[in-house]
Structures are given as structure tokens and as C-alpha cells.
């Protein structure tokens, strides 16, 4: 392996040498090299170890179609796992190591597994190691043996952008047919996006030359036209990871993911060259002819000094000519076929002229390695029949074997797009038989192999795609898909059995020919079962080099033609995609009330509430959490407190049917609600389960304003919109949630404070409990509701968001003499619990109906209809399954139970605590519990608290505090 003298069209820049290390050894390469080409140029034949047997492996496809070339790279302070060396550009200072070796690549101590391979047949791990006692030990061993790269658990998040893009025609693959297609589509007026996974376009047009430069020159001309074309955007080093519905394609570039919405799609992804199967076909030095040609022409690297070509198609002969052209000694061309086709024969003459022996009807029976573990010689046998080689053969000393025995079309995106395929026996491959609207294909993927044929094919398809986008009839009609095919590019069975095995079918997974026979013998005789049992195609390269041979082998074992075998489903990703590319910047929307900064200044400790953050409580220097919360509670009970309730859903409803609508969606009655009054609202689902609650206020005959819980505001507003449409009601709904700020000023002194700021008459007579008034607060138009959630005199004040801070500050200032105190969600929970108010979703669960929750008072069964009513009529007739009760701990000093602790009755589970707190007001531990009817009917139960201890509770009527409700009604001001 060595670097060759410069050649036209090479991808490397010899003016830019780069230094890197591999397995600690210093190497050098050039800008434009990939890790693979640079290693090859430095004569590094062994680049990795195989997954199962740890056999030495070399380059195979040089196209990321196999996982021999997976490495770990340390660069710019990051450890990058599972790097695909074939397609990763070399950078200066990279430190490259092989993956999954013990003691380094050269003397990997795990290579002894190769000699044990006899003990490890297909699926061996199903057949042993499962004694209950020893499995954990074995498993630890396996876990450490498998896996590729080792992660650096300290490396930071990589944030890459993501981009949307739009194209008339997206062409995937910029080989000869793709280039032609892009030009033809663009010439016909379409905006074209052309992508190729390689650093440069051109594909096989540049590397498969057959010892001449004609095709390459023509390809370069096409590339030049593409570069200049104003309607073509070319993206290189970019692969299409997957096709998704409606021509939505994920493109992965080195730095970002681009999500393209194309109006038409052209698949020109070509075909994966497939390996031949013979003993030791995995030795370093044995590679795909196309891989060798890539090294020769892209990177000017000679993969070997003396090569033997194993072929079954013209491409192999052409590769031989390329070898000679680049000064590599060709030992012989071995053709599996007894009578090569015309194209091959023409090329054979040119080889003959240069004294290269061509032997037909032969195969490589086996290869053997030298002391360095790399290919040293092969045995060439006569092919007696499929799979069987003659007993005796001639040994040939070579350090390289290039395999050119056939191709598997890269049609996974086509399949994802919904194309149907049929097996073309004349081609020995599947080709599209029907394509979905707007999806086109050209080139090798459709079975077109000749260079000029591919250009013709691409031109035709490009024009057709443009026509589709422009909604016109195509000018160029379809021609036979196998344009100018003179001989079959793929051999139907390029496989040689061998008594000693080690003839690999899947290089990722170390699967040998016999593994398939054995799996089928064990009953895994359908392609899907075979895949799952052998794991063929499940490795990092996802079967790109192994699925086709697996199908051929199965078809032979079942004695059925390949087309009857079927294929496994083609799923994304086409090549693996980093999580960072998929994640992008990752947006997670957050909502904030206008008071966020103000709360922070007041020492708020935040808690999450859906997309919102809410002050749980306000920290007070020197006070513990519990004390701070207790202080807030006392402030509300004895003076005044102010809480931001702006996260509540706030909805306005206007129109002639407004009252009727509310009567249908809430369980209460609102048609009778007086203007200027509010009423509690309970919302149920069709099965009668409580889903939300809030306060409904009537602004005018045909206008209401109501609140929902913070978590449900969006979904409820949406559902109300649907119901309005379904019932065809004359209403207009307005979601004012974010547009109104809201705070609750509560406490015996709240009226005194508010009077100073508002033009609304707060006197009991003119603004009674549950009243709704509109006026100004601190000069700002405001809506006031006298609600009693916390059980004190209180005003819920709603003002436009842009004035929220002004009003909030004004209230705190006006209340300074009364020591008004901001309070948080936790204090509010304590206060409402003292009042026995439930919280939907905390004191109720996914099955709680109003009867169980003791909310009969909030449902008006005599209304004509409301959602959930009919189910309640059923439930009324049935015994309750659970019931919400209030409780009090017998010993006030007992350990505080927690929400979620179990209620026990006679040792049996009989419910759970849904809310509990130590009430500073009542100096008792109070709570709500959802219990069995039996317990509800009793007087006491026990609660199992942390550590399994149990505490006694007595069932207590609700509310715990101010049963008469005089405080929230607060007739005369104190």
C-alpha cells in the first residue's frame, strides 16, 4: 500500500499535509484524505478487529458500506465514538484508535476467540450461560466483550442547528445518472437540490475508469455544468438519512440536519458492490473492486502491489485495467462465469494484449494470511458447480484480491417512499416496478449500468420530474429500464463453500456460510426469522454488504428462487445519524407571567407548573421553608396576602348562545347567573369524570369571563372551540390567558388595602361575596372577582398584562401598612385545604366523579344536558367505588404523612392520602383522602407513613376552617 504519483481529478491536496496518529503510531496524510485513505496510504493494512471473533480486518468498500472501518477519534478535546473512517475527512492532529480491542489492534488478546469459533455457532448465546446462578457473571462478560467505542461520559452537549429547506426536485446521488438528472430537471426550469454523500460528486464516473479517462472527463464536464447552474444547489458530504411522508427527506451534513420538503424526488443512489464468499474472504488485502478503485482514483493510493481480480462482470475487467494503468501488477483475472459476456470479452482482449491471464469458470476456494495476518496467497479452483470448488487448486501469491461479482441496488429510500420492486432475473437484482407519485429513480438503482446509458436515463428522469412539478406531460418518454445492458452485472451465486468455513457473509457480525444452513436447520427458514436469529444485516452497516447474499443463501437452502424469499423491511436510517443532529438546538417553550422578575426580587423559590414556573413560596432570610410558608399562611388569615394567579386559564365567551354553551360544558347552571356575579364551575368528561374546575363570571347578558386550571387552559380552550363548532353555536371564544395578568389579594385587611387603589365601591352591599365588578385599580382597567378559594375576604384582580407590574407594585405599596405579604402556591394549598377545597388532579384522579368527590352541590342534574350528565345518571344508581373524605390526625404532634401514603383499614389497603398539611391556623394535621366507601362510612382509619409506621386519623367533616364561611363573606370591614 502506497501513495501514487498525482493524477487528474484526485481529491487530495498534496500541498496540505496533515499529521495524525493511529493506535499511537504517527502517520501523515493530505487534506482531502479520509481516515481510510490516509491509513492505506501509510501502508496500514489492518484497521480493525471483527465484532465477534476479533479477526484482523482491512478496508472493504471504502464507502462506509461495511463496519471494518469503524474507529474512535480523539480530536479537539472530544472523544468521538464509532467514527466511519471511510467517509470521515482526515484532520490535522487527530488521534485515531481501533474500537473493541483488548491490548491494542496489533496484539488484541481477544483474537483467541477466533480459535474458539467452533464452540460459538450461530446463536450460541441462546444455548448456554443461562443457569440462574451464573447468568449475571456471563452477562457481565458479554457486555464488556461487545460494544464498539468507549464513551467519554464528561463530554459536553453538542448543539447543532437544524434547517428546513424546500426544493422542486431533490436528487439523491450525484453519480453520472444523478448529475444528468439534476441538469435535465434544472434545464427544464425546476429548482433542484442535488446531494451526494461523498466529498465530491461524480460517483463511479470518476473512479471506475477501465484504464481510460473518457468517462471521467465527461463526468467532470457534467460537474462543471452543475457547479455553474443557477437552479442547482449542490450539497456534498451529505446523505439522505431517510424518506418520510409527503417527500420529507432528512439530509445529514457534517454540521447539521436539513429537512427538505421536495415536490419531486429522484433517487440516483446507485448500488452497493457485494463481496464474494470464500474461505478467509475477510483477510486484510481482500476488498471490493470499487473500493480499490476509489483508493486509486480519489486518493491516489495503491491498495496493494500484486492483485488477483475475482469477477463475474465487466466491471471486474475494467478494474484490472485500472490496476495496470496505476502500475499495479495483476496476477490474473478469475471469472466465476464459464462464458463471460461481450462487454467482458472486449476488455479481456485488452488485458490479453498486456499479458494478463484470464481464467473463466473458476473461483477462489480459499485465501491464506502471512505472518502479518494479511492476505499472502489464494487458492484458485475450478468451479465444479454452484458453491462447490474443485478439490485441487493452484496457489497464487498476491497481497491483494479485488472482488467484482455484483451489486445490490441502494433502494432503501425508494422502499421507504412506497416503491414496489420486482426481481429482474436478467439483471440478478431488484428494480422498481412501480413508483409513487413524484418519486423517480435512475441509474444503477434501476438496473442501468452502462456509463452513457446512465446519462441517458438520468436526463430522461430529470425531465420527467420537472414535468411532474410543472404539472405537464413529460417530453421524454420512458425507455426500457435496463438500457443497453449487454451482460448481467451481478452473479446469481458468488459463493464458495469450504469444509473449514470462515467464509464470511456478514463482516459486521462475523457470520459464516454455515451459520445460515444451521439457522435454517433449526427452523429459522424465513428471511425475517433468519435475520433475527443470525443477526445478519443488524450490524452497524445494516446489511449493505450482506443482505443480498443472505437472501441468495436462503433461497438455495429452501430451493426457491430469490424473488420468492422476500426482503426485510427497509427502515431509516440509511447511514447512522448522531443524536446531536437529530436533536438540533432542541426547543422547549416556557411561559412566564409579567411578574417573573418581581417574584425573583421578592425571593421566590420556583416550582414547575407545566410550561410555567410559579413561586412555591418566598424565601425569608433565616427561616426554613416550612416557617416561611407558615408565615405566608398567617399573613392571609390575619392580615393580607397577594398571590400571582396569572397562570390560570382565562377565557371570554360572547354571543347569544354563551349561557347555553356554558350550561352544556359545565355541570353547574349559568343561564340563571346574574350579571356581575360569579359561580363555581366543574367540568366533566363524557364518562362523568372531573377534568377541570374554575370560576365563571357574567360580564353582560351575552358575555362571560371564566377561569380554568393552569395545566388545562390550552386543551380546554381548544376543546370548547370544537364543541362550539360541533353544536354550531352562536358564540365567540377568546383565549385571554396570557393577555390578562391576575392576582388574588386575600385576607381580612384586603378590602381596606384595595379601597385605596380602586374606583369600585367595595362595600358589601355593592360588591358582595362572589360578585364581579369592572373598574380601575391603580388607574388600570381591571376586573375584580370576590372569590373564596383560600377562605378569607379576597379579590381576584385581572388586569391587562402590560400593566401587571404596575398594579402588583401598587398593591404591595398600598398594603405596606397592613404588612401585605406575597404568598406562593404552597401557602395557597394549605389555605384551601383548611377550607376543604379540592384540587382537580391532586385530590381527584383519572376515575373520580363528582359524587365520589362530594361535589353534588356543584352539579345540576335537572338541567336538560351537560357533558357527563348521562353517565352520572348511571353512576347515581351504583355504589360509589371510592370517596373523598377529610381527616385529622389524632395526635397533632404525629409525624406528617405524605401525599400518596396509603390509608389502611384492618391492615388492608383502603385508599390514599391526596392532600395533607400541618395547619398553622388549626394547629392540627389535616388532610383529604380518597378511601373506600366502607372507610368513608366509618369514623377512623390508619395511615402508613414512611418507614412503614402507622398513624391514626379520624374522619372530619369539611371544611376544617370557618364552616359557616363568615370570613370570606366578611359582611362588614374590620
Amino acid at each position: 500500500m502506497r501513495r501514487l504519483p498525482p493524477l487528474s481529478g484526485e481529491w487530495i491536496d498534496r500541498k496540505q499535509p496533515l499529521a495524525f496518529t493511529f493506535e499511537g503510531q504517527s502517520f501523515s496524510g493530505y487534506a482531502g484524505d479520509t481516515l481510510s485513505s490516509a491509513l492505506a496510504a501509510n501502508g496500514q493494512k489492518i484497521i480493525g478487529r471483527s465484532f465477534k471473533y476479533h479477526r484482523p480486518r482491512g478496508l472493504l468498500s471504502v464507502a462506509n458500506h461495511d463496519s471494518n472501518a469503524i474507529m474512535q477519534v480523539q480530536h479537539l478535546g472530544r472523544v468521538i465514538p464509532n467514527v466511519r473512517a471511510d467517509v470521515t475527512p482526515l484532520e490535522d492532529g487527530m488521534r485515531v484508535t481501533a474500537v473493541n480491542t483488548r491490548g491494542g489492534l496489533a496484539r488484541d488478546s481477544l483474537q483467541l476467540l477466533d480459535s474458539l469459533s467452533g464452540f460459538l455457532p450461530v446463536g450460541f448465546y441462546y444455548k448456554a450461560f443461562h443457569s440462574k446462578r451464573f447468568f449475571p457473571k456471563w452477562e457481565r462478560l458479554f457486555r464488556n466483550l461487545t460494544g464498539l467505542s468507549k464513551l467519554d461520559l464528561n463530554s459536553s452537549r453538542r448543539r447543532t442547528p437544524k434547517r428546513y429547506a424546500f426544493a422542486d426536485v431533490l436528487v439523491i446521488g450525484a453519480g453520472p445518472s444523478g448529475l444528468a438528472a439534476a441538469l435535465s430537471a434544472a434545464d427544464s426550469g425546476a429548482e433542484v437540490m442535488l446531494v451526494d454523500e461523498n466529498a465530491w460528486p461524480g460517483g463511479s464516473g470518476l473512479y471506475a475508469r477501465g484504464g481510460q479517462d473518457a468517462d471521467a472527463r465527461q463526468t467532470l464536464q457534467l460537474m462543471e455544468r452543475v457547479r455553474k447552474h443557477t437552479r442547482i444547489q449542490l450539497l456534498c458530504s451529505t446523505y439522505a438519512a431517510g424518506y418520510y411522508a409527503d417527500h420529507w427527506v432528512a439530509l445529514v451534513t457534517p454540521t447539521e440536519m436539513v429537512k427538505v420538503r421536495a415536490r419531486a424526488l429522484i433517487i440516483a443512489q446507485g448500488a452497493f458492490e457485494q463481496p464474494a464468499v470464500f474461505r478467509n474472504n475477510d483477510l486484510p488485502g481482500i476488498m471490493l473492486a470499487s473500493g480499490a478503485q476509489r483508493l486509486l482514483h480519489r486518493y491516489a493510493v495503491a491498495p496493494c502491489d500484486r492483485v488477483l481480480i475475482l469477477t463475474a462482470n465487466p466491471q471486474g475487467y475494467a478494474a484490472a485495467l485500472d490496476a495496470l494503468e496505476r502500475g499495479i501488477d495483476v496476477a490474473a483475472v478469475i471469472d466465476l462465469r464459464t462464458s463471460p459476456g461481450p462487454a467482458s470479452s472486449q476488455l479481456a482482449e485488452r488485458l490479453d494484449a498486456r499479458g494478463i491471464p484470464v481464467r473463466t469458470g473458476a473461483t477462489i476456494g480459499s485465501a491464506s494470511a502471512g505472518r502479518d495476518g494479511c492476505l499472502r496467497s489464494v487458492v484458485v479452483n475450478t468451479r465444479v458447480q454452484d458453491e462447490v470448488a474443485s478439490v485441487t487448486g493452484e496457489s497464487v501469491q498476491v497481497d491483494g484480491v479485488w472482488m467484482s461479482v455484483g451489486f445490490a441496488p441502494a433502494h432503501s429510500l425508494l422502499l421507504q417512499a412506497g416503491a414496489r420492486l420486482q426481481f429482474e432475473t436478467a439483471l440478478g437484482q431488484y428494480v422498481p416496478s412501480s413508483l409513487p407519485a413524484g418519486v423517480f429513480a435512475c441509474g444503477k438503482v434501476t438496473g442501468v449500468y452502462g456509463f452513457t446509458s446512465r446519462l441517458t436515463d438520468g436526463t430522461r428522469v430529470g425531465e420527467q420530474a420537472a414535468a411532474y412539478v410543472q404539472r405537464r406531460a413529460p417530453k421524454l418518454r420512458s425507455t426500457a429500464s435496463t438500457l443497453g445492458l449487454t451482460e448481467m452485472p451481478s452473479h446469481p451465486y458468488p459463493i464458495a463453500s469450504h469444509a473449514k468455513g470462515k467464509n464470511f457473509v456478514d463482516f459486521d457480525e462475523d457470520l459464516q456460510l454455515k451459520d445460515f444452513a444451521n439457522a435454517v436447520q433449526e427452523g429459522f427458514d424465513s428471511i425475517e426469522l433468519l435475520k433475527r436469529y443470525t443477526t445478519v444485516g443488524m450490524g452497524p452497516s445494516q446489511g449493505k454488504h450482506s443482505n443480498l447474499n443472505a437472501m441468495r443463501i436462503l433461497s438455495k437452502l429452501r430451493g426457491e428462487p430469490v424473488e420468492r424469499i422476500g426482503a426485510t423491511t427497509a427502515r431509516p436510517m440509511f447511514h447512522p445519524v448522531p443524536l446531536s443532529h437529530l436533536a438540533g438546538r432542541s426547543f422547549s417553550p416556557e411561559r412566564a407571567t409579567p411578574l417573573a422578575k418581581a417574584h425573583e426580587a421578592l425571593g421566590a423559590v420556583w416550582m414547575l407548573a407545566g410550561q410555567w414556573k410559579r413561586p412555591e413560596y418566598y424565601a425569608v432570610a433565616g427561616l426554613a421553608r416550612a416557617q416561611a410558608i407558615e408565615g405566608e399562611v398567617r399573613a392571609v388569615r390575619t392580615g393580607a396576602g397577594l398571590i400571582d394567579v396569572g397562570t390560570l386559564g382565562k377565557i371570554e365567551i360572547h354571543g347569544p348562545d354563551a349561557a347555553e354553551f356554558l350550561d352544556r360544558v359545565y355541570a353547574g347552571r349559568y343561564g340563571t347567573l346574574k350579571v356581575g356575579m360569579t359561580r363555581y364551575g366543574l367540568m366533566l368528561d363524557e364518562s362523568g369524570v372531573i377534568i377541570d374546575d374554575g370560576v365563571i363570571g357574567r360580564l353582560a347578558d351575552e358575555s362571560f369571563y371564566f377561569t380554568t386550571t393552569t395545566g388545562n387552559s390550552a386543551s380546554i380552550y381548544r376543546e370548547l372551540g370544537r364543541l362550539a363548532t360541533q353544536w354550531n353555536m352562536k358564540i365567540g371564544l377568546v383565549n385571554a390567558t396570557g393577555h390578562y395578568a391576575a392576582f388574588n389579594l386575600a385576607g381580612p385587611l384586603s378590602r381596606r388595602i384595595l379601597t385605596r387603589l380602586t374606583n369600585i365601591d367595595l362595600a358589601q352591599a355593592s360588591f358582595p361575596f362572589l360578585g364581579l365588578r369592572e373598574g380601575t385599580v391603580a388607574g388600570v382597567p381591571a376586573r375584580l372577582m370576590r372569590v373564596g378559594f383560600v377562605g378569607e375576604l379576597g379579590y381576584e384582580i385581572h388586569v391587562p398584562a402590560d400593566s401587571a407590574l404596575h398594579v402588583w407594585d401598587a398593591l404591595l405599596a398600598a398594603g405596606s401598612s397592613e404588612a401585605v405579604r406575597p404568598f406562593g402556591v404552597e401557602a395557597q394549598r394549605v389555605l384551601r385545604l383548611e377550607k376543604g377545597h379540592l384540587i382537580v388532579g391532586q385530590d381527584t384522579d383519572g376515575l373520580t366523579d363528582p359524587l365520589q368527590a362530594g361535589c353534588e352541590w356543584a352539579i345540576k342534574m335537572d338541567k336538560p344536558f351537560f357533558i357527563g350528565q348521562r353517565s352520572l345518571k348511571v353512576l347515581e344508581k351504583k355504589p360509589k367505588r371510592q370517596q373523598l373524605v377529610g381527616f385529622q390526625l389524632v395526635a397533632p404532634g404525629a409525624t406528617l404523612p405524605k401525599e400518596g401514603h396509603l390509608v389502611l383499614s384492618g391492615g388492608e389497603m383502603a385508599g390514599r392520602v391526596t392532600s395533607v398539611t400541618r395547619s398553622p391556623t388549626l394547629n392540627a394535621v389535616i388532610g383529604l383522602a380518597m378511601v373506600t366507601p366502607a372507610v368513608a362510612a366509618s369514623t377512623a382509619f390508619r395511615i402508613r407513613i414512611d418507614g412503614g409506621r402507622e398513624v391514626d386519623a379520624t374522619i372530619t367533616p369539611l371544611p376544617f376552617y370557618d364552616a359557616a364561611g363568615t370570613r370570606q363573606k366578611m359582611v362588614e370591614a374590620p
Binding site: 460459538l120 447468568f135 444451521n518 376515575l847
Partner: protein, 415 residues
């Protein structure tokens, strides 16, 4: 190196017999027909033969063995449910799971890894505590742990989840496990096959016949001919509604796709199974080193296993919120299954209004972990024409009785 592997090296011919007999013909009649050759159907067959001596039974599968959700799930096994019915049922399942490899003499790689259900909100903490308490009450090993313990167990994790969903604690369930999903179907299949039960792949049901009264099963029509039988067990997950419609039965089952994806193999770093309801993530690392990842159900009904990109985008984003160092780890493949969901996130099992028609459905996102116990209880139910005590809470008529099971709270993100 266990001795039993010696034979493979010493024998020239591969010494293993077929796991499943290939049956050319369907018989004209069987004592029972099991529709669905997935884990559940095969498990039922296995226990029918082993525990109830019923062997004149055919399992018919329209595709291939274990090719449905058995092959598509993320293999998580746990019993930390919320309702007594759920806990008892899945606890029995875990018990069965633990002995399965030895029962089958087939290594299922049943691997007890421990299972964290992360809580990011105080509401989630309440539910986790409730679950832990119910679990402990029924002898299931679950504990509510705080954020610090989570961080200690997973020092590499960003427990603030990139700041927008800080972890407050978790429900830790030590018995949480994973297993090699395909092998489960093969193990049950081989066990049933060896006991004389016939497994017919590529056999699709076209109709189910009832007797004149229309109230009793009399036969099954397939693409390979008619079978007469008086007992039919239906274990077809996503195809359940279609099968039920053949009998004019209605159910609450609705079908949404559930997607998953898998990474390239990397050296082991993640021991336990991690689930986050808020971030819609569940993830575990297989013995091969791959990360198997799932999220929540697709948002709308669809009877197909197509993949979507937005699924991988949001799942990847949430994975990196928890594990930023995975940025360069690559996803190799995504796939999907069809989840047969129920309103209360509990299965629908047992006898039905049609005599001789037994239903094993409503497995949503929790079917794999129930494979052994569903087989055990359904085989009992079919053999005795009486619902097994463990599945009484799961009967089809619970909905008309307004007696749903309250599992939803625990399974808002499944698995």
C-alpha cells in the same frame, strides 16, 4: 466456556434439531385455535399443553413467529404498577420471567437491571410515592428515592435535564429487567411445538364462525381453509378490532403507533433502565451495547408501522437533556409497532359475550412484560371456561359497568 458448547466444535454436522415443526397441512378440527403467533399466543399455547394437557391446538399466525409487537417492543419488564390488580398481575409475570430461561433451556438474556421512573414535578412525586406504597403493600420491591440518590446511581446524568425539567426524585424498582424479545417467542414456540401443538405461520384468519344461535364459536376460516373448533383465543394486538368485528363485538380499543429507535453498539455505560414521563423517554442498554430508546405514543390513530422523523428528533433532544455526552452517538435504525390502547391503560382479558371466544388484548405499550402471565392466565381461562382470578379486573364488560381500573396514572408514559 460451558461444556454444552463442546458438541458444536466436536460434531461435524450441526447437532441442533428444528425448533418448530413445519406443518404442511391444517387439520380439519382442533380442540382450540389460538389466533396470533406472537409472545402472548405462543405462551398461551405453551401453558395449555404444559399445565392443562391440551395439545390438539393450532396457533395460526398471518406473518411469521413473533413478528408483531413481540419483535418491536423495547423489552422492558417490571411490576411497579398502581392498582392492586395491576401489581398482582405483573408481579406474577416477573416471577415467571425469572425462571423462563431455565424452563425453556434457552437463554432469554433475562437481565435484572433496576428501573428508574423519574419524577420532574411534585405531582409526579405524589404519584410515584403512591405507586411505591401500593407496590410495597403487595410485596413488590419499589421505593421512592430523592434526586441525590438518582444522581449517585447515575453520576453521568444531568439531573437538571438541561435546566428545563429538574429531577426531583424517582420511583426505583429493583426487579426491573430487560430480555431478548425474539427469543421469548421462540422459547414458547419450541416448548409448545415439542408438546404437540401445531404452529402455522403465513396463515391468516378470514372469518370466525359461530353456531346457529350466534352465541358460540364453531370455527375459524383461514386463507388455508376452514378449521372447526369450539374454542378460540384471540391474541392479535393491533388486529384485535378487526377480529372482534368478525364477531360483531365492540370494544374501547383504539390503535396508535408506538415508535422506537436503536443506537450503534457502544461499550456498556448504562446499567439500569431509565424512564421519564415528562420527557417522554425510556432507554436501556442491551447486552450488545446498543441503546434501545422509546418515547410516547403517536398522537393519532394509524394502523401502520411507518416511521416519522419528528419522533426521532424529540426523542434525541430529550435523551441529550439527560445524557449530553451522547451527542456523537449515532442512531442506526428506527421502527414502529401498533399499540392496542384502552381508556384505562389496563388490558382486556378473558371470556367474552361469545361462548368459546377468549380475548387477550388491550396491551397498548405494556404487552411484552405480561407475556408469561397472560399465557398462564389465558390458558387457565380457556381450559376451565372460567376467568383466572388474576384477570378478573380486566374483563371486557368493565366499561359498560363503569368499573375501569385506574392504571392510567401509572402508565401515562408506558414501559
Amino acid at each position: 466456556m460451558p461444556w454444552r458448547l463442546l458438541k458444536f466444535a466436536l460434531k461435524s454436522k450441526h447437532p441442533e434439531p428444528r425448533m418448530f415443526t413445519a406443518h404442511s397441512e391444517l387439520k380439519e378440527s382442533y380442540d382450540a385455535v389460538i389466533i396470533g403467533g406472537g409472545g402472548h399466543g405462543l405462551a398461551a399455547a405453551y401453558y395449555l399443553a404444559r399445565d392443562h394437557g391440551l395439545t390438539n391446538v393450532a396457533v395460526i399466525e398471518k406473518g411469521y413467529l413473533g413478528g408483531g409487537n413481540t419483535a418491536r417492543n423495547t423489552t422492558i419488564i417490571r411490576s411497579n404498577y398502581l392498582t392492586p390488580e395491576g401489581v398482582r398481575f405483573y408481579d406474577e409475570s416477573v416471577r415467571l420471567w425469572q425462571d423462563l430461561s431455565e424452563d425453556f433451556d434457552l437463554n432469554l438474556f433475562y437481565s435484572t437491571r433496576g428501573h428508574y421512573t423519574l419524577a420532574h414535578t411534585d405531582a409526579a412525586m405524589r404519584t410515584m410515592r403512591w405507586r411505591a406504597e401500593v407496590n410495597k403493600h403487595f410485596g413488590v420491591n419499589s421505593e421512592l428515592v430523592d434526586a441525590q440518590s438518582v444522581q449517585q446511581a447515575l453520576p453521568m446524568m444531568d439531573i437538571t435535564c438541561a435546566g428545563h425539567a429538574p429531577i426531583l426524585g424517582a420511583l426505583y424498582h429493583a426487579p426491573g429487567a430487560i430480555a431478548r424479545h425474539d427469543a421469548v417467542a421462540w422459547g414458547y414456540g419450541r416448548g409448545a411445538d415439542r408438546r404437540g401443538i401445531e404452529i402455522h405461520q403465513q396463515t391468516e384468519v378470514l372469518g370466525i364462525e359461530t353456531d346457529a344461535s350466534g352465541s358460540r364459536v364453531s370455527g375459524v376460516l383461514t386463507n388455508r381453509g376452514r378449521i372447526s373448533t369450539r374454542k378460540v383465543l384471540c391474541a392479535v394486538a393491533g388486529s384485535t378490532p378487526r377480529l372482534l368485528s368478525m364477531l360483531g363485538l365492540r370494544s374501547p380499543i383504539y390503535i396508535h403507533p408506538l415508535q422506537a429507535m436503536v443506537s450503534e453498539p457502544i461499550k456498556p455505560w448504562l446499567d439500569p433502565i431509565i424512564v421519564s414521563g415528562s420527557l417522554h423517554v425510556y432507554v436501556s442498554q442491551t447486552a450488545r451495547g446498543e441503546l434501545v430508546m422509546g418515547a410516547s405514543l403517536d398522537p393519532y390513530e394509524l394502523h401502520s408501522t411507518r416511521s416519522t422523523l419528528d419522533f426521532t428528533e424529540s426523542l434525541a433532544a430529550h435523551m441529550l437533556d439527560m445524557f449530553p455526552f451522547l451527542s456523537d452517538v449515532k442512531v442506526v435504525r428506527q421502527w414502529a409497532g401498533m399499540a392496542d390502547m384502552t381508556p384505562d391503560f389496563a388490558p382486556i382479558m378473558g371470556m367474552t359475550p361469545i361462548e368459546g371466544f377468549y380475548l387477550d388484548a388491550g396491551w397498548g405499550t405494556w404487552g411484552f412484560k405480561a407475556t408469561p402471565v397472560s399465557g398462564k392466565t389465558m390458558s387457565y381461562t380457556l381450559a376451565n371456561d372460567r376467568n383466572h382470578p388474576l384477570i378478573e379486573g380486566f374483563s371486557l364488560d368493565r366499561f359498560s359497568r363503569y368499573e375501569l381500573t385506574g392504571e392510567k396514572g401509572a402508565a401515562s408514559v408506558g414501559h
